[in-house]
Each structure stands twice: as C-alpha cells, then as structure tokens.
Amino acid sequence: MGGYIIKRVASAIITIFAVATITFFLMFLVPGGPFLAEKAPTPQTIEALEKKYGLDQPVVVQYANYMKRLIFKLDLGTSLKKRGQEINDIIRVRFPVSARLGAISVCTAICLGIPLGSIAALNREKWLDRTIMAISTVGNAIPSFVVATVLMYVCGVVLRILPTFGLTSPAHYILPVISLSFYPTAYISRLTRTSMLDVLGQDYMRTAKAKGLSQFKSLFKHALRNAVLPVVTYLGPLLAFIMTGNFVVERIFTIPGLGSEFISSITDRDYPLIMGTTIFLATLLIILNVFVDIAYKIIDPRIKLK
C-alpha cells in the first residue's frame, strides 16, 4: 500500500511539474510579452517593467525563477488587466464559490445516479428501466452548455420560476446544479445499471437469497456495495467534467466563480491569469485524482496493490 501511494504521488508530482513547464513555455509563444496592451506603453516603460519582473534575463534563468516562486512561495504572479491584483488573491476569493457549486453538483450526480441505475437494473426490461435508460442515453449526448442555456430559457425566461443570475440564495443554485450534474447523473446511472446487472447474476446473490436474507438486506449489503465500484473509477473523469462544466455554467448564469473568471481572462487575453488559473486547476485536479485512485484501491480489496 505504502509503495503504491508513493508511486502514485511521485507520478502526480511529475505531472504537475510537466504542466507547469508546458504552461511556462507556452507563455513565450505570445508575442510582445505580457505588457503589450492595447495602449502600447513607451519602450522605456516596457524596459522598466521587464527589468522589474526579470523578463530581460535569459529564458533558463526566468524559468528557474518562475519555478522557484511557484514551488517555494506558491506565488502565481500578478494579473495583467486587473492592475495590481495578485492571482493568488483572485483565486482565494473566487475559488470557494466554484468549489461549493462543484461539490453540490458532484453529490447530486452521485446521489441521483446510483439509485436511478439500481432501480433500472432491478426492473430490467420493464418500462421503468426503459424510461431511465432512454433519458440517460439522451443525457449522455447533451453538452452542459446546451442544458444550461435551455434551462435558463425555459425556467428563467418563459416560466419565470427560478432565478438565472448570480448565486445569492439557495434557489439560485438549482439551475446551475442541474446543468452541471445532468450529464454525470446520466453516465453514473448507466454505469450502475450495467454493474448492478452483473452483480445480481453472481453466485453470492443466489446464496444470500437461499439462506433467507431479506431482499432489502441482500440488496444493500451485497449488491450495491459491489455495484458502486465502477462509479468510484468514474470519480476522476467526473471531477474533470465538473470543472470544465463550471467554465460555461458560471458564464451562462453569471456566477462570480473561478470558472467565469477564467473564461473572461481568456477573452481579455490576460495571460498571467490564464496561466495561473491553469496551473492551479490542473494541480487541484491531479491531487484529487490521486485521492480517488488510492480510495479505489482501499475500497476494492480484489485489486492487488503493487
């Protein structure tokens, strides 16, 4: 176990390092450096600024400085368009909003997807199963921005029953959470149904029935426990999906989270902010994935630990 964790953490560190390096060198592809704004500053100003931020030094030195700042101070730099704002501060303010929305959506997807999938499997080939599977097939094909915009139009513009702007009250969460969790719910219910059908056909289920275990008990103690294992493997992609979904959903519902900040930084071409947010989100995702992988190994004893 310890060996596996060390291996997994080591590869995560390499990946984070790789992402940070890619990010740094991609920054160099942008001509004129970070100070080329619409109102072109005088050459003297640029020179002074470059000196201040160490941009007049060779690439290797800059790279070393950048990495040093990143690793030892966790400093992501300063925003270009929002003068004087530290990217760390922007993330500190914006990220909790996105994280809350994301966490609620992940919980919703899991809490809806697993029961729906199990119900479908238990009612195999009946109308309930068919309905759930039809909805989940369609749900698997609709991008979150489509769900979000259509929901916004139907619930916010036509019916006027739900707020579509900001995130100030619990009611404000409803539409964004539905948009974010629609696809993962559909995916999880499909996943659960397949593995549940597999589990229900196993010998130990027959044994449980034969020894007189109540249906409720055999379902929860034996079937569900084994059936949710594939869902745990899906947690990694799910987190990535929620993060990407956050970008568009926050933009559509005007939520002041890190996602909408990221999108507007792309539109504004605020390179340091784009880079900083990328590194932050990538690191977050990689770390979460390490946790998911380790959790999976702990939960499923059948997988040999190398």
């Binding site: 991008p143 915009t149 993060m243 568009v248």
Partner: protein, 349 residues
C-alpha cells in the same frame, strides 16, 4: 417384399447403391455462404434498429452539412442588408416587396442573425465543422494510439514499461486546460506562420482554434486508444500464427501491421467511432467559450454562445444549434454502441 426383411439382417439394400438423383445431390450442398468477419459484424449491426437509425441520421446530417450548402442560395458569411434579426420563415420588407412583384425569394427557414446572415446555412456549416473535427480528430487518435499501443504491447519488457509510464503521466494531465492554453497561445505563432511562410496559408482558412484542437488531440487524447490496443496485442502476440510468422522471418513491423493490428480491427473501429462524439463535444465547448473556429466561420458552439445575448427575443437561434449538436452526438454515441455490440462484443462493459 422389403418390409418383411429382418431389420437386423446384414443383407445389403441395393437401392442404397443407385446413383443419386439431382435433387438429392442438391440437398447435401451447404447453402450458406461462408461468413467472414465483416459480414458477420454487419449482419449483427443490421439487426440493431437503433444503430441503423442513427446511421441513417448521420448520413442525412452529412448530406445536410456537406452537399446542401453548395446548392443553397445564401452563403454563411453573406450579410443581407435589411434582413437583420428575422424570425422563423420571416421576410424582410425588401424581400416582401420583391415577392409582391412576383419574384421568387428563398425563405429563411430559421430566420437570420443580428448581421443579417441566414441561420439555416450557418447551422449547416456549423455541423460541417463539428463532423470534420470529429472525423479528423478520431483519425489522428486512431493512427497515433494504435501505433503506440502496438509497439508497446509487441516489444513488451522495458520498452513497454517506459512507454506505459509515459501514457500514465499524459493520462493524468487535465486535457481541457491544456487545450485552452494551447488555443490561447498558439494563435500568434500560427498566424505568423500563415502570413509569412508560403504553403501555410491554409492555417488561416482552417482557423487557429481548430488546429490547436487537432494538435492537442494528437498530443494527449490517443492514450486511451493506445492502452486498449496494447492490451489486445499483449494477448494476440502469444498466438501460434505470430510464432509461425516469426519463424518464417517476418520483420517486427510486418507482424504488427499484417498480423496483430488486423486482428484488433474490431476494437479499432469501435474505439475510433466512440472518439468522434467526444471530439465534437470538446470542439463545441471550446467554440462556446470563444476559442474554436475563427469568425465568420460558424460553429454550433459559437452560435449558441452568441444567441445567449438575445435569448429573450430570439430563442430559436439558441435552440437550433443546441438541438443540432445534441442530435449529432446522440447518433454517433448510438452508432458506436451498435458497432461495439456487432464487432467487438468483448468490449461491452
């Protein structure tokens, strides 16, 4: 007379030795043709109604996206003055006057946008972009992923270990972030390339956003494919025909190409088809956040994004691309599932 014969008698029955008649001969001929891999798969696919319907839908969408635009009276970047912001099947005053004068005016089925561009043709061109991205991206994934996976699986040992560690690392890189980063940063170098180096002018036409999507797909997305191919090759290379080929002096390249990859063809088809919708997904997402194709070229994602501003007055401008993109992804998903059931039953989860 024969009836009275003892059934256990060893006396021969002469009638058994008469020459067979033509009808008797026919009955012994095995009528069924030999069924090869493809026929077997297609037979199973044809039985799958859902998959066949999605195939028909995909073909219809392809006609809609690739053939119809050449016959359509409007073009995607044409701004018709006076026809801005028309609703479904509406005509502008100018067009109404021309109709009154007896002239035939082609209707705007889905109206026009704020610049007076016909929405129907823009949906067609947007679908074309989506399909192209899906097909080209999955072709790239197929080539890189299968080659990499086959080499890793065939040679095994240290080579396999190193190659698979690289795959593991790439697998954990958050791809969407890198795509965004590349689309943002590659813009200027690619534009420079298009403007200054001869033979690269096509970059401007295809659009920097699309090219960075392709670059990222070829850098990151093939890892899933390579893992699947490697797994298959690992078990296939133990087969006797591989040993036979080796004994006959076939080179490693030939064995991989002629013996191993051809035997994984079912998996390759299925995995490639299932890559198409995910590539389309990614493209529409990027266009939606403003990084996909360059204007005036439309994309379903960017059309939906632009429609957001006028959602109160012109909901159809949002619904049309939204429905289109969902239908495209849905039919490719269903076709992929059908292909998996038909050609590669083992892959079914």
């Amino acid at each position: 007379m024969d009836d009275k014969r003892n059934p256990l008698s060893f006396q021969l029955d002469v009638s058994d030795f008469l020459p067979a008649e033509e009808s008797e001969k026919q009955s012994l001929v095995v009528m069924r043709e030999s069924v090869n891999f493809w026929k077997d798969g297609f037979r199973r696919l044809k039985k799958n109604k859902v998959a066949m319907i999605s195939l028909v839908v995909i073909i219809l969408i392809m006609i809609f996206a690739f053939v119809l635009p050449s016959f359509y009276p409007y073009s995607y970047e044409q701004q018709i003055r006076g026809s801005e912001n028309l609703g479904l099947l509406q005509y502008s005053e100018d067009e109404l006057a021309r109709r009154a004068a007896g002239e035939k005016v082609f209707p705007h089925f889905l109206g026009t946008d704020s610049l007076g561009r016909d929405t129907t043709i823009r949906i067609m061109m947007g679908s074309r972009i989506s399909l192209l991205v899906g097909l080209i991206a999955s072709a790239i994934i197929l080539i890189i992923g299968s080659t990499y996976g086959a080499i890793s699986g065939y040679f095994g040992g240290k080579i396999d270990m190193i190659m698979m560690r690289i795959v593991d690392i790439i697998y954990t890189i958050p791809d969407i972030l890198i795509i965004i980063l590349l689309s943002v940063t590659l813009k200027y170098p690619l534009k420079d390339l298009a403007a200054n180096v001869k033979g690269f002018a096509w970059i401007d036409i295809v659009g920097v956003g699309l090219i960075s999507i392709f670059i990222v797909f070829s850098l990151l997305y093939w890892v899933g494919m390579s893992r699947i191919v490697r797994g298959q090759i690992l078990s296939l290379k133990e087969q006797d025909y591989v040993i036979a080929a080796k004994a006959l002096g076939a080179s490693s390249g030939r064995i991989i190409r002629k013996h191993l990859l051809t035997n994984t063809i079912g998996t390759l088809i299925v995995t490639t088809t299932l890559q198409i919708p995910s590539a389309i997904f990614t493209e529409s997402f990027l266009s939606f956040i403003g990084l996909g194709v360059s204007a005036p070229m439309p994309s379903l994602g960017s059309m939906a994004s632009q429609a957001l501003n006028g959602i109160r007055s012109y909901p159809h401008r949002l619904m049309a691309p939204a429905i289109m993109i969902s239908i495209i992804i849905l039919s490719f998903n269903l076709l992929g599932d059908g292909l998996r059931d038909a050609f590669d039953p083992k892959l079914k989860d």
